[in-house]
Subunit: 288 residues, 4 copies
């Protein structure tokens, strides 16, 4: 029943809400012989915006991909749609950026090997040598870019060149402890996923577990979000929490936090890789 | 932007999965001037079944309801669909059955008053007098049907007559400690919602909190499900859990359990009232 | 086996950590024939502070309460302990303050009747008439103190007089939408429990659900804390969260939030009533 | 303030509840100059049993360990206590048993390296070759014992010999798909930790995710428990759940389940390694 993944495509659409949108797209796809496998939509009444994700089967299309894309572009213009189309036959290419903490890195590499993350993983990048052995051991090479205030600009240029050379689509900051410049971020809009080690917007900035301990909170959390030029302010993809108590030292919070960081980040990465995310302003629509 | 609730309708569809389903329904509604507000669908590959919920706006339809219904019936026959259509202009009518525990009753009555449950509430029924005062105090009348093995059949007949007289659509067993006969259940298929005070299928049968205590579980739960002739075996609508520990006596488990029972039952009742549930075999599709 | 509640007492102790503390108190109680039922302790290495809660049985004491208290005072002085002793034979007396939202009020009154909250409930106070009917219906009288900037001081004086007259020990702000003056708060240090409708310190201040919606968070929460002169900054007693998604409007967040507010507030009130809380600086120790 | 871990010891005690227990042990330790760092106790009124965990500092003891142990034995006899004493200076030695699924193995090895699990890890054992490469890559050697019904007895003997040779204290069955014989289990009573991939007692036996899918549950879980001769019936150490929905195929449940299996198993192993568990009948006391 289920088609082969490489015969499918996913269309993401966002536009001002108005009548006839669902029918227009359903009819268009039907007319080209593209069978809808899965359609989910959302209307946000507070901003009058419509969002839709349609996954469809290309294997019995009457027309070719180019024709289909031109048809979508026509409808999109009529309805002022922003849209993107991604083909199952082209796997996304992911880079992982890491510094000294290896829990998210380990987790992502394990999930990748286990088949949970449908992507190629051509690059692991760090601003420190520390994890070179670990990364090697897990079958990857670590690209190290030592960064000082003086070298930051040129090192980021070198990183961008490497990313371009490997055709990277999405960057995961797996506890990368180096703020990316606005220029860098602008090159991958809504394609850089960061994990912040707190329940944002509580505890922005550095040392959130120390802040949480000091404030005496009873839950601690983690937030996966798209990186933007404003640190800790990007659109939120996923959040998770775990109970804490007076018995937890800062070290305990750090340990507990690692578990929720891994889970929140992995869920966010999966959602991105499966084309389930649409960003609108500061907010995300994350289809199930 | 949002239409008035009474101008909307919700269509639920279940049928063998095949191509063209989404387009057929979208096109049909568009053709009658019914604007789709919200559409969610699900294909269960394991059983080859397709499920869809479409909420639409009737206020600018070109045709009348009868014509629309006939058109849906035609499409439904072509695709072997089971379907139901409910109009926002007709509120569902709910009866609550209760015995001696009042936490779910209180919670449902409060939620009803707070506007969380979009229904009329013409009947509260019990097999005991105990809660008559409570129910009265909260502005309802308690209909008492004392039941013994000898009187069960005739009392159920009387209950069914009362339910029919008040045009009840859905019955909520809010800790009703009396097993309904198969005949009674058959009169309201997938329209009787029960709350079982355990995480089913763990701890079926009586005294689940005692069983949970004896087994030393670290989480206790509650399960809201449609009642079927097989006790504790009906399609599950919602489940919730809460942590337990060695410190919890049976009484503590009962107390903690009340909180998750209330939450699970309320969520299930909301889902039913909002036409978000389709039953297929022993399982439910509960759209968000 | 278990003694009658009225034969028990609970000792709470906080002091600089040093050796011999546990033995000193255990020995003292043993020497008076007070049998320890339950003892829990915590050492916070980050601040070098020791905390202990001891519940004991008075029924076979060799000495009287006065003698026991003098003995405790002696040990306390030696170890620079802050301590409090509460007797099971004297139930705490609670006042509930409420404004226009009734979900926490309803929940607390129901829990009180169900025996979950071991206290007397002599007073329900509001700054609005709106809930007078509801409170009446539930068997209590609503004391209304309309408050304007001009009348605030005198109305708070009148409230304090009423609280004193009814020997109130603990005040629960069950969504009381009126900021208490620093003078008022100072009269009930660590004895006023507030529920804030967000996961503090995220979304301090007004309209937290609007803030949460605007920020696009994926979890919303509630925080029960002791009220202090600094709004939203008091020691946290309990926090709870629930998942949110892009589908949730502000109204949905408000509805979901009500459920976690009720649960977090009830847990905090129980902990306080059962003498399980010690405040140290901005943080709480909440024994299980 | 905090003593070095190697200067600490942990005493676990279980006995019929009676007065004077807490004072007797506190006094005993004080008399030997052993400073109590942490004491937690629990009385289970339903069975009249008392449980206590005391962690203390040995660095300023007046007497030697032998003398202390003899003194404890004396008190223990008086009160009919079962007790065990473990010294921080002797790390526990853990063996991991694994079959073909590597998620729990990976997780435990990572946590061990990260310092979350305070133990030596001399052995990784399997009944299959499959994970030899993975285990090697992570810096350990895999001991393979192929098992058929005919060779089971002798292979278990060989495993037991290997375990004895490496002085293993605790065995973790990290998805080990081979039932241990009653004789094997009897050699490590309450020292073999298993992870069952369901919320026990729901879905005992094989293929619990298939069972869960078939039953249409809305939460799936994992249970870490001590292995006993009765499969899936041992004392429960930890349980965790995650939400499921109609959208989850069996494969999705398996994937989601891996996350909760890892978390539940890791928590159980930590509790065991930190001497926070006492078993009484079928139930556990797991101190925080």
């Amino acid at each position: 029943m289920s088609p082969r993944p490489e015969d499918t495509a996913t269309l993401l659409v966002s536009c001002p809400d108005r009548r006839g949108l669902v029918a227009a797209l359903a009819q268009l796809l039907y007319g080209h012989g593209a069978n809808i496998l899965d359609a989910d939509q959302h209307s946000d009444a507070s901003v009058g915006q419509f969002f839709q994700r349609i996954r469809f089967d290309l294997s019995e299309m009457h027309t070719d991909r180019g024709t289909l894309e031109r048809a979508i572009a026509e409808v999109a213009e009529r309805f002022a749609m922003e849209w993107s189309l991604s083909y199952g036959s082209r796997r996304k290419r992911m880079a992982i950026f890491v510094s000294r903490y290896d829990h998210c890195l380990h987790d992502l590499l394990w999930r990748h090997r286990a088949g949970e993350l449908d992507c190629d993983l051509p690059l692991v990048v760090s601003n420190h040598r520390d994890l070179a052995g670990t990364v090697e051991q897990l079958g990857h090479h670590l690209h190290v870019f030592a960064i000082t205030p003086e070298t930051k600009r040129e090192q980021e240029e070198a990183q961008l060149a490497l990313l371009a050379e490997h055709s990277v689509d999405v960057i995961v900051l797996a506890r990368y402890m180096q703020v990316l410049s606005a220029e860098f971020v602008a090159r991958y809009p809504n394609r850089i996923i960061n994990i912040h080690h707190s329940f944002l917007p509580a505890f922005v900035g550095g040392k959130p577990y120390h802040q949480a301990h000091e404030r005496g909170v009873k839950l601690i959390g983690a937030t996966a979000h798209y990186a933007t030029a404003d640190l800790d302010e990007g659109p939120i993809l996923e959040q998770a929490v775990v109970r804490a108590s007076h018995r937890d030292s800062v070290e305990d919070l750090v340990r507990k936090g690692r578990d929720v960081e891994r889970v929140a980040l992995a869920a966010a990465v999966r959602a991105h890789l499966e084309d389930r995310v649409i960003v609108h302003g500061r907010r995300t629509v994350v289809f199930d």
